[in-house]
Symmetry: C2
């Protein structure tokens, strides 16, 4: 029986997981919005159903909270890629799909990219403390290595293709598109950030990725 559904609360209920999730979701927005130092604990609490005490109860301090936020962001960022099922496609198609997907996914989830950018401003010091994040990210490289190996074997890829360089290039393209949008569009106009402009950039990325691996 579920006794917790939709009841009017005059006083509070115990719900550790719900509280944690609430804080984490709000904190993600606030950190992504204002950066680590710019984010205000009081602002996070204001947008939350819970009280300030809970942050320190569950996350220790501001840094602890931020670390969990970052961890969750990386997890969701990589989760999408896992579902692409690249093994099912021929190498060139798989690469095209991966590049296009990454472009769209980052575009649709700018908060995650902003958090990573913020983490870089802080020299990756929270990332260095994380146990889980490196494991998550090695998956994408393993997937790309596999993809490249298949491509080389079936003769569609050059044999000196480097999976890491490929990942770097795709990331550069997709991340810059989000992380530097504010300054770029202000200085050079919005043309590349309209739907049409973004489609051109995505097509550009795909063709660049394919050119990197294809035989001359």
């Amino acid at each position: 029986m579920n006794r917790n559904e939709g009841e009017r609360k005059t006083s509070w209920k115990q719900d550790p997981e719900g509280v944690k999730a609430d804080i984490l979701a709000v904190a993600t927005s606030v950190f992504a919005e204002a950066g680590f130092s710019g984010a205000r604990i009081d602002e996070i609490i204001r947008r939350t159903k819970t009280s300030k005490r809970m942050i320190y109860y569950y996350f220790g301090d501001k840094s602890g909270l931020y670390s969990k936020v970052l961890e969750a962001a990386y997890a969701r960022l990589r989760k999408g890629e896992d579902q692409l099922d690249l093994q099912a496609l021929p190498p060139l198609e798989a690469l095209a799909k991966l590049a296009a997907f990454t472009f769209d996914f980052h575009r649709n989830n700018p908060e995650y990219i902003r958090l990573i950018t913020i983490e870089n401003i802080h020299h990756g010091k929270h990332l260095k403390q994380s146990e889980t994040i490196p494991k998550l990210n090695s998956q994408i490289i393993i997937g790309l290595e596999d993809l490249c190996r298949r491509g080389i074997e079936d003769g569609t890829f050059r044999d000196d293709v480097d999976p890491l360089e490929l990942h770097w290039t795709i990331s550069a393209f997709c991340v810059f598109n989000i992380s530097n949008r504010a300054t770029f569009s202000h200085l050079y106009g919005d043309d590349l950030f309209t739907d049409a402009g973004q489609e051109r950039l995505r097509a550009r990325l795909v063709s660049m990725a394919l050119d990197m691996v294809r035989l001359r």
Copy 2:
């Protein structure tokens, strides 16, 4: 015991320009190091020869100081490009030179890129207040437009090449290389950030840029 150090200065020279320059230089480092909100006025002053009051005397407040820092960063970033004298070279060579130069320059001046990244975290709000920065940056586009026109005219460039897309791509590559170095190298290793790795990336950028404009 030293009577001159740590004691109140009984005599000093008036040097407005020197003081301003000193503050600006130190502030550039501190903001680039810690971000806008993370930077501490007291830390800037500590590294300076002058006193706290001078920041407010010359720059108004923290935001005003940061705006000037950002302005100076953009100015120095673009100044290099002006000296490239791209008009003197054939279009393809000029483009190769520009791409390679941009890559090296950003690599050698990471502080400027960090400041731009920080500005993006703050949604470009300081940039929007600047009168001079947009003018500086339109120069690079004008230069690229000229370069593309020459390339199309002499038949080495495709006729649908887009100078803005070209600039975007070069920027994405060069900026990402700096702005995301901390997280990328921690997750995927340092291989691409050794001298050899950086040379490969630069060569990759140049060939990508040329591929974008060259006839098929």
